[in-house]
Symmetry: D2
Subunit: 272 residues, 4 copies
């Protein structure tokens, strides 16, 4: 009934007392992104004064062009196939049309609000930012986890400090020097913990060797195709890494774009 | 230190026990939207098999074109001006460029995670969905609130049941019959409660009289320009209305599109 | 050698003496088009003053979103398939990728500059504009041609007067009343003349019966798939129809968009 | 009357006997262009088989995103302002809205079909392609013209051979080494001939010094603002340069995009 307050500490009070971290990079024309995807562009359309209503009111708006894998975003399981098959052995061709994927699109990812553990691999190596081209190993993840338990269904984020390079487009995209990320062994280690979703700070959640580009994407195959685990990319983890929080509430709610292989998201972390 | 668990019931457990409601409408080409804004379009680009990597892997992607006020979205304060001025008396012209608004854009809206009250005006009238063209009055809002307290800084959502019409494009857009929404008096009532943000189910949070269209937008002026209160539009409130929850945690995190006058969002409600 | 003038009347003088007709409709946001294709939108981006160079200079620009079959445009042979096959029995699936069509795209259409005959079917019926839903017959085309010879490789345009309705969006799109155009028999009559290209004033070069929409497109099948004849649509023929010219030079140079199934064009006619 | 043939050699026969040159670069995703303008992207949307009509027919289409100054294109007079003024002293601000420019947009450029002279500056220097960063002088233009008369209202194209570099994106865009083009003196020389339009092969019809980028655009100011002469950029002149033709018919018909500051075009040359 309207007006009946809940008993105990209300959820909003508990959340209100937590520290909130905004884990999304700001989206603007020219921001770093993968060259494989349509470039983000926000263009103002109407400006105030273009079209003034009789009462002196005016509304401004914009047009936005983007890819589904641009800025901070979640990869749908439909994003990657291996030998023509998506997760669960579904043939990719039969599920795709001009309307996108009938199954395994980003709309099949239920919003996540739950436990998240942050594995700070940069700290394991005593640096704020891992060097370009560094391959994260399973041992790195073990050491970063320490006594922190990873439970089935958790979100697991891997800190490389790379989000600190956001304002340096050349460095962030790693076109020349590569980018740090998990190798296949680390990918299997993650899949073995049976998380709901994993995420990181780079454009692609992979080890990108210098000068090689995205020749193959083994971790995408392991997580998306084999294990059915979604991936969050281009997260801004710098502040939460610096805060020392390693276990917190993560809210991850990508735009529900029906049939898309990925969608932008503004993830929020809430730490006690 | 990594590994030190927090004391008490962790936030993620409390949130995990709550009922989660997804308050966003699904986004797809052809969905109902305002004719004043660029139409949403999601077009698949690469399909699996178009570009196969040497190891048999393949990635699919898409291009997305949209407006900032399409689907479930938050209006930035920069969206509306009155006599050339934005909220706080800022001249609109001086803040606008090809990069959008230097102030009052949607990036100036900090993500909201806090208390939310839902005023079910449809229930006040004993209906599931208010008729097209119905003007919500201040009295309607008073009756819908009942004993439910509205506190400064809350989110306030106004239920009309209109989100039930989503699949009927002609009806939802209200081009002929109009759409239910607050009149100027109800807008002032809302502003007087000093909320952080208000929201509703229709394309425009306004009373749209039959056949008149958006000739003037008094509630936008009152909330955005005069009171500095953001507006959420095209929300899917049907499930939470039906659940009986009237007070809950709302997470509202629009995409951080720098300088935009609005941005899509996937709001989540968590009710005990 | 530079400086040697050609003998005889130079081409530019001959063309300069001709009456020039612009056969393209103006392109603007909101113009009539098929609902099956991405809507045209031209949005100004930079305005003068947004970004001023040190010397006081400033440049304005825009972003344009469109489909390939929007405004006055040419259909590539790859546009339509029958039972999975394109013109010449080529399997459509094997030629398509994220880069468009490897064969039969609009880039495979060499610019046309040659003889054009205009068949004024509206005049045959003594009207300026044929009624919506009128099916043009082979007999209509015979009568419109009269003594005018149609030669192999010519361009053949069919006048309905429909371009006069351009400013009436509802009427032009024919959503309710249909649109005049050739039936299958008239399509075969045209194909039998072995033209290089045919064209008309409506959105689709087809007879569209009232209320039926584009359920089937027999003339597209006959021309594009069976005969290998390109189609120009949404032409503005009103002025040339009114001029009385029925035989003239046509220049038809669609944008060379590699792999596209169609492209916008601004056709020009030059009549003595 | 239909059927009455014109006397003398018909225009289409004269044009049909000429050599036709396609002066447009092919448009495809990833092609070289200015970083100041929205990148061109052609994305296939429906593929054959996605939506099959009852009779076995199917239509494929695409979505195209582009700027108005991308690929081979014509600059409208509204493109550039000096000290807030467009050509003829018109204040730029008063002519611009969300619908583009009310005057001096590309729709104000009447299609051109007339005499064209080609000044081969590369040949003056005995090379096929001018070096990056070379500033074309008035003397270069004089020598390239030789005995070739330039008449008021002509089109004048300036050959640098740069279009030969189209397939080398880094070189063509000249981001490091600059690009050859007219300096201010050459721009004034051209304006003094009172042409209807001038054109060239590079992205910007300017001398771009190495490493300087488009800091200022004096030739745009001289031609567009002061002289009211439109500019064609990114033309493919290689074949016509190699042919030896220096005087020919040019057909220049940019897309009639109402209010735009520029538009793509597929120019054709016809040489005896």
């Amino acid at each position: 009934m309207p007006g009946d307050p809940p008993s105990g500490t209300p959820l909003w009070e508990a959340v209100g007392r937590a520290r909130m971290f905004d884990l999304a990079q700001p989206m603007r024309t020219g921001m770093p992104q993968s060259a494989n995807h349509p470039p983000f562009r926000m263009t103002p359309e109407r400006r105030h004064g273009d079209l003034v209503r009789p009462d002196g009111g005016s509304a401004a708006n914009e047009i936005i062009v983007t890819g589904g894998h641009v800025g901070t975003h979640v990869d749908a399981l439909a994003h990657v196939s291996q030998d023509g098959l998506l997760h669960g052995g579904r043939p990719a061709a039969g599920l795709a049309s001009h309307q996108g994927f009938a199954e395994l699109g980003i709309d099949a990812f239920a919003p996540y609000a739950g436990r998240c553990v942050l594995l700070d691999v940069a700290a394991v190596h005593g640096v704020a930012t891992l060097p370009p081209g560094y391959e994260i190993t399973a041992g790195d993840l073990e050491r970063a986890a320490g006594r922190l338990e990873i439970r089935e269904g958790d979100a697991v984020l891997v800190g490389t400090g790379w989000s600190r390079l956001w304002d340096d487009r050349e460095a962030f995209t790693g076109r020349r020097g590569g980018a740090p990320g998990p190798g296949a062994a680390a990918g299997r280690w993650l899949a073995g913990r049976r998380p709901r979703v994993v995420g990181g700070e780079t454009i692609a959640f992979e080890h990108i060797a210098p000068g090689r580009g995205h020749a193959t994407l083994p971790v995408h195959r392991i997580l998306l195709v084999e294990a059915g685990v979604n991936i969050v990319e281009t997260m801004r983890l710098a502040e939460v890494l610096d805060s020392g929080a390693r276990e917190f509430l993560l809210v991850l709610n990508p735009l529900p774009i029906v049939g898309a292989t990925g969608a932008p998201v503004r993830p929020l972390a809430f730490a006690d």
